[in-house]
Amino acid sequence: MTNLAKRIFYKELVSYRKRSSTYLSPIVFFLITIALYPLALSNDPADLSFLAPGITWICVLLSTLLSIQNIFNEDFEDGSLDIFFSLRVSTLSLVIVKILVNWIFSSLPIIILSSTVVFLLFLPSESLVILLTSLLIGTPVISLFGALAGALSLGKSSILGPAIVLPLSLPILILGTSAVSSFLNGENPSFYFLMMLAIFIFLLPLICYACIGALRLHYE
């Protein structure tokens, strides 16, 4: 089981590295959307620093949407998913490893990049750690929802994925931005972190099995 998971992990790493568009396009998208807000709203540092946590969270959420089609689609199209489901091996490890690698390639670069909002959107620098922590805890949940949406909408229109992910991710968006704004108001944000962590732990097995069920649908 662990050996198999390790092999899938390396295989996924290689295939992601070869398709650089899958992790470069979310980064480009993130930077552009961040740049849109000052252009459209205002370039006043006071306004921007007030809006910065929310803008960052929305941009992260939207740019992770770009990659959810990639989680299962390529394996579905070249038939390796087909082989995997006909073998008597654990599909759970496949799903978990795929979600993990997708998170590493699509969310992690954006989280690192989002520390630039200190300069771009004048986020108060002392709250940067809080923002990054909230992103680190919150984005795995969004990846889970993304995997479910990707599994349900395999080979379907790509608008279906966002329509499923966005309403499901509302609690994470609310908790993530609340963590930063409560810190800026001088409160302790740990409540929001614990809440997001609880949601993640609660949803991890549930969504993984839902993903397996959704993938099975395409082979019935």
Partner: protein
Amino acid sequence: MNKTFNNLKTFYHKLGSSPWFYKISGITIPYVALFSFLFLSIGIVWGVFFSPTDFKQGDVYRIIYMHVPAASVSQAIYYTMTVAAVVSMIWRMKMAGIFIKSMAPIGASFTFLALISGSIWGQPTWGTWWIWDARLTSTLVLFIFYIAIISLYSSFSEKKSADQAVSILTLVGAVNLPIIKKSVDWWNTLHQPASIKFTQSSSISPEMLYPLIISIFGFYLVVLLSGLMAMRAEIAKREINKEWFKNY
């Protein structure tokens, strides 16, 4: 005790058979239609013409006889769809899939009705069509869930996998809806304290309450009626080439 259980079990098994359902629903639909018409007309007419005028809101409040039943029905439909999703996941009962498929558009319409009637009510009483209140936001999210379920269903060409996919999404949504509701509550208290109490005061006078209860009952009957008709139509659509349907 054992006998009642057996009767229940046979009833449950019969419920899974589409010819039986088609026959029974054909018999019951006229009665349900009659009763829903009766209850709805009594509730609405009593509420709109004969109940006393509210001393604070005036006659505007009478939209309550439309708004509260629609809001209550819109949530109840999602709960029944969740039960059907569990049945469909565990026993692969095809009637459960037909139920979810037929109820989702009905639920979406009643949620839409609740949102629209609420905003028509809000304009004269609060002076605004929309407010980012916790309840309004979670109703909007419920509406989006219904739309997502409908669009996911329509994206599958194979009915069997469409049923399963929709069941998975309904279940995940049912697990998430309480989380969304709770987090919207927190968000609301953080950003803006609820300036307008949306909850009806429990001291509603009986002359207003009775027509409300009757019209809520009428709305549930309308949902039952439209659900039965939609399920019949769906059965006819799926089994048009089956032997029993040709001989019906």
